[in-house]
């Protein structure tokens, strides 16, 4: 069995079928690329072959490149990885360019064999770049199939000619959402966008492709003909000029300068547009290599692709039997409970949604109805589907309905006593195998578990708001939580298609523990007289989705006050209250954030954020001397990162992969960095420790170099070098 096979049919069509061994979806490896190249040669050189169709033996075409290949090449060409990556990329170009030229005479474009791609379903990344090198792309009319180039999402860009071909096919403007945003289309959408050429019924796919290659079609690509002009204009064509001026500005503003892939992509497009096709491919390969050599891209691939998937597949799941949830009981139909009910029902899990009052329970269920209605308006959901999903949710006040539930998620008011009552009420009904989970974000799991019959079956499952959008779920083990409960939580998270991390029980667990110091650092700077705009912009310029002040407005000032008071009570003298003055003053002014239409920012009557509130600088005048941007950025980043390191030191985190993936998905920690541990690896532990020393000197003890980091700096170790054993095993 091999990943590609060639069969020459009696009609004279050579059919190359892609069928990656042992995978549900085709992925391209180095070996399979070489094999494709060989089989294509064979077909091209066989006089019996009049035309060639490249298709798939699976119901999809291909999911893309096996990204592990890149790490392997880096390893193999240790002394000069850029050389290895560039050669690898150029080899790909040569193979695909051969398909595109298909034996045509280089001067006259005469001769050659027609090559069609026949896509039965999804075609992503190199799974679309191979078809783009063919002469015509047919796709089966499968509305669920996704066609596109999503590379930018993991910090790289299409480097197998997809960038150069798509821009030459569609023009820079039309190609930009596909390349710069990784926009995916279904086959009809891809046809409309001009990415593919024909959509046919699934059972006619191969016949249509074969008929076309046998019809003696014109196969030369427009860019290989004399007088080719790029659609929309090349960079120094008047229209193209405007496109390119705008593109640089848009990418710059959007990426805030921290995503090297978008810039490299755009440069490859621009420079490629000024030269003939083969030279453009070489330029594309140079920029692609540059991006692969940038530590940001390998960190993003590692966290957002490889490790995210590993965690979703249960990298840290205890070795116990399948714990798939068949019926979940959700206690509390507020915003969180309603959201958890929605994602559970969407995953086909039966839900009992309990609240003290029937109307509250019904309101929680309505959340799902509204969500499905939105889907219907957007034509993504059918009315039948809506009924089916709603039919899975039983909204009630009756605890007896929980009898057959194998998992309970409690999302009631954040109070130990209230939660204890609920736990007892629930466990009076449920069976001994039922796992009880609390969605608390602030209370200790071990403490709450005391109210449970069996602390081994008690666990924290911390969802983020809004539940349907936030992809991270934080699973918290109490001191006594057992393996079955952990497996149950993980299997549940897998069912609802989210990404889990498993952490131990300490104050604020992992995500909130790290985000609070970020917010506090921002507010502290306001008090010091740092320009609020500088604080907010510095955060964005280091890749944070929201500045700390805006984030405080979003999460609300009163929540901040509540957390500050509770933390102070728990920590006593050790508590650093520098930010509280500003926070409490805002609270006293009634500025509670977005929910009160007033906070660090001003809002109009419709709730649209205007600008930073002028009263802020009136109360805390900005200093004449403003700090350097880099100091502001490092304060904001280290505040979070050092907390992550401490979480690792204290064994709240057991796996740095979870620390990195959780940081990006949980609170948007600078995704370009691959997460806090990846960031420390990028800047290097010696520099990180030195920088912490400086920050401590300038701003205080909260930046004190953690012992672990100090030790690693002394030994010049990296986190993935030292703690990455688990990652390698996955």
């Amino acid at each position: 069995m091999t990943d590609f096979t060639l069969k020459i049919d009696s009609d004279g069509v050579g059919v190359i079928t892609w069928d990656t061994v042992g995978k549900s979806m085709n992925v391209m490896s180095r070996d399979s690329m070489a094999l494709l190249n060989d089989l294509f040669d064979q077909a091209l050189n066989d006089d019996a072959v009049k035309g060639i169709v490249i298709t798939s033996g699976k119901d999809s075409f291909a999911g893309g490149m096996d990204l592990n290949v890149l790490a392997a090449i880096r390893e193999e060409y240790k002394d000069d990885p850029a050389k290895g990556l560039f050669e690898f990329t150029m080899n790909g170009h040569h193979a695909l360019r051969k398909i595109e030229r298909a034996g045509m005479d280089p001067k006259t474009n005469k001769g050659g064999k027609p090559v069609a791609a026949a896509l039965p379903g999804t075609a992503l990344g190199i799974g679309l770049e191979v078809p783009l090198a063919c002469h015509r792309i047919f796709a089966a009319d499968n509305p669920k199939a996704k066609i596109g180039l999503p590379e930018i999402m993991v910090g790289i860009f299409p480097g197998a000619g997809g960038t150069t071909r798509l821009v030459r096919k569609m023009g820079a403007m039309a190609a930009s959402p596909l390349l710069l945003e990784g926009k995916l289309n279904n086959p009809q959408g891809a046809l409309k966008a001009g990415v593919i050429d024909e959509v046919v019924p699934a059972d006619e796919l191969l016949d249509a492709a074969k008929a076309w290659v046998l019809s003696e079609p014109k196969i030369v690509k427009p860019w290989d003909e004399k007088g080719y002009k790029m659609p929309g204009g090349a960079p120094y064509h008047p229209a193209g000029f405007m496109t390119f001026v705008g593109a640089s500005a848009m990418v710059n503003g959007k990426t805030q300068g921290v995503y090297p892939a978008a810039k490299a992509l755009l440069s490859a497009v621009y420079e490629g547009a000024l030269v003939p096709f083969d030279t453009a491919l070489k330029i594309e390969a140079r920029y692609f290599t540059q991006v692969l050599m940038n530590p940001s891209s390998s960190a993003m691939i590692r966290s957002l692709f490889i490790n995210k998937e590993a965690l979703e597949k249960g990298a840290n799941r205890p070795d116990v039997a399948d714990q798939k949830v068949s019926q979940v009981g959700i206690i509390g139909a507020g915003m969180m409970g309603a959201g958890i009910a929605l994602v559970s029902a969407l995953a086909g899990i039966k839900v009992v949604l309990i609240d003290a009052k029937q109307e509250a329970a019904d309101k929680g269920k309505d959340y799902t109805a509204t969500y499905m209605d939105k889907g219907i308006t957007r034509k993504k959901v059918t009315a039948e589907k809506k009924e089916a999903v709603l039919g899975l949710i039983n909204a009630t006040t009756d605890y007896a309905a929980l009898k057959d539930c194998d998992l309970i998620v409690e999302a009631v008011f954040e109070d130990v006593g209230v939660k204890a009552d609920v736990t007892a009420k629930v466990q009076a009904v449920t069976g001994p195998d039922c796992v009880f989970a609390t969605n608390t974000s602030t209370l200790p799991i071990t403490e709450l578990a005391k109210a449970a019959k069996d602390a081994e079956k008690f666990i924290g499952i911390h969802f983020f708001s809004p539940v349907d959008k936030m992809m991270l779920v934080e699973i918290i083990k109490g001191v006594k939580t057992g393996d079955v409960a952990v497996a149950k939580a993980l299997d549940f998270v897998r069912q609802i298609r989210k990404t889990p991390i498993v952490v131990n029980d300490e104050r604020f667990f992992y995500a909130n523990r790290c985000i609070i110091p970020y917010i506090n650092e921002g507010i502290r700077m306001v008090k010091e007289g740092v320009e609020p705009a500088l604080i907010e912009n510095a955060a964005k310029l280091v890749g944070m989705p929201l500045g700390p002040l805006q984030l405080t407005d979003e999460t609300s000032i009163d929540l901040g006050v509540k957390i500050a008071k509770a933390t102070k009570a728990a920590m006593g003298d050790a508590y650093d209250d520098a930010q509280d003055e500003v926070l409490f003053w805002m609270f006293d002014e009634g500025r509670l954030g977005r929910k009160s239409n007033s906070g660090f920012y001003a809002y109009d009557e419709k709730g649209k954020r205007q600008g930073l509130w002028e009263g802020l600088s009136a109360k805390y005048p900005t200093a004449d001397e403003q700090p350097d941007l880099i100091d502001v950025q490092h304060r904001l980043l280290f505040a979070q990162t050092l907390e992550a390191v401490r979480a690792l030191e204290e064994n709240v985190l057991e796996d740095i992969r979870e620390g990195d993936v959780g940081a990006i998905l949980g609170w948007g920690f600078a995704p370009w960095s691959g997460g806090p541990f990846s960031w420390l690896d990028i800047i290097g532990s010696p520099y990180a420790a030195e920088r912490c020393d400086q920050l401590t000197e300038m701003f205080g003890e909260r930046f004190k170099t953690p012992e672990l980091l100090r030790e690693m700096a002394d030994k010049n170790q990296s986190f993935y070098g030292r703690f990455g054993v688990k990652a390698k095993a996955a």
Partner: protein
């Protein structure tokens, strides 16, 4: 060291840089040749009378391409033994031509030069020569490229200038230009543009809008707000470079920015001996010249550091300067200059500037040196400084002293 003197300065009137502008029918070479011919005629430049013609021009494509300087010399009555050098330092090209000529003379390379420039903005569109800094993503993103209008608005935001201040400066520019024409203050240097039959095509600046007031300007929408805040969103790029700003205050519009016009200007620069040999009298000495690079994003603050530099290089103080010409590319450029050096508006651009009369890119630097000289002579003042902001973040300046 040999000193460099200005013997003569002429310019064409500025025509609206549009299809219906009076100079739209005239070619770049012919307009340039007209200026060269006037200098020849007024100063008796026979044979190899000057070492070179250095000609500033920004958009060097089409009819302005192919070394327009040499083309214009051949199209003029100057002797073919005189070569031509086209140069481009964006808006200061005309000034750079003068400074280069002066410094060549000071260095002993030739006795005399014609220096000036031309821009037919209505015939050869600004930007049509391309610019990698704007479109090459690697460069544009690394330098945080934004168009000049955005840069002018960054200046306004960073240094706290309001729309009213900018509009007041524009109204004043118009008033002063009208008054200067009424008082025949440009008579010495204006050379009417004539056709091949000797018929006059244009003999007055036609871009001026007499009667412009605050109310009229107040009705204009900010010109750069849309491209700044929406498509493609240059403000975001500006804030990346100026992160202490929360937002950009868009105060500039067509009425308080320089006008798009056609025009040309030229000066005759020579040594003392040259004047003696030619029997012509020097009018001013070019005391100092300077140029500098600045942040390309805010781009247009160059007049400040280049003036600091020229004063430091020459050991002069700002108070030694009697009159200023600060090119009115945008109102905020001039406001920033006056703010930084605390100079009285009554000695800056006293006869109006590019907001009222227009800014033919390659020529303006030469025009304002001529205007400065005429005004020094008219008022009997001694020392003048001319300076311009320059695209991509540069500045240029010249100090002249009346003889």
């Amino acid at each position: 060291m040999t000193e460099a003197y200005i013997y003569d300065a002429v310019r064409t009137p500025r025509g609206k840089g549009r299809k219906d502008g009076s100079l739209h029918e005239v070619t770049s070479a012919r307009l340039s040749a007209g200026v060269m011919n006037a200098l020849k005629e007024r100063n008796g430049l026979e044979g190899h009378a000057v070492e070179d013609v250095i000609w500033g021009n920004v958009t060097q494509v089409g009819e302005q391409g192919g070394c327009l300087a040499r083309t214009a010399v051949l199209a003029s009555d100057l002797d073919q033994s005189i070569p031509g050098l086209s140069i481009n330092r964006f808006c200061a090209s005309g000034m750079e031509a003068v400074n280069l000529a002066a410094n060549q003379i000071r260095g002993g390379a030739g006795q005399a030069y014609i220096a000036g420039g031309v821009e037919m903005m209505g015939r050869v569109a600004m930007g049509s020569d391309g610019a990698a800094i704007a479109v090459d993503p690697s460069i544009a993103m690394d330098t945080y490229f934004v168009p000049q209008g955005i840069s002018a608005d960054i200046i306004a935001t960073e240094y706290g200038f309001t729309r009213d201040q900018a509009d007041q400066l524009a109204v004043e520019s118009q008033k002063r230009a009208v008054a200067a024409w009424k008082d025949n203050r440009f008579d010495k240097s204006i050379v009417a543009v004539k056709d091949q039959n000797g018929l006059t095509i244009l003999d007055r600046d036609e871009y001026i809008r007499p009667g412009t007031d605050m109310q009229a300007l107040g009705a204009l929408n900010p010109a750069f707000q849309m491209m700044g805040e929406q498509m493609p969103g240059f403000d975001k790029v500006a804030l990346m470079k100026y992160p202490h700003l929360e937002k950009i205050n868009h105060i500039h519009h067509a009425g308080n920015s320089s006008g798009i016009v056609d025009g040309a200007a030229g000066l005759l620069i020579g040594s003392k001996e040259y004047g003696e040999a030619m029997g012509i009298k020097p009018r001013a000495v070019i005391k100092h010249t300077a140029k500098i690079g600045t942040d390309p994003t805010i781009m247009l603050t160059g007049p400040v550091p280049v003036t600091e530099k020229i004063l430091a290089d020459s050991g002069m103080n700002i108070s030694d300067i009697d009159l200023f010409e600060v090119n009115e590319a945008f109102a905020s450029v001039v406001l920033r200059f006056m703010q930084r050096f605390n100079v009285d508006p009554s000695v800056v651009n006293v006869n109006g500037g590019s907001i009222a009369m227009g800014h033919p890119l390659g020529a303006t630097g030469a025009i304002i040196i001529g205007t400065l000289l005429d005004e020094l002579e008219r008022t009997g003042k001694g020392t003048g400084l001319a300076t311009l902001c320059i695209a991509s973040g540069m500045g240029a300046a010249t100090i002249i002293e009346r003889i």
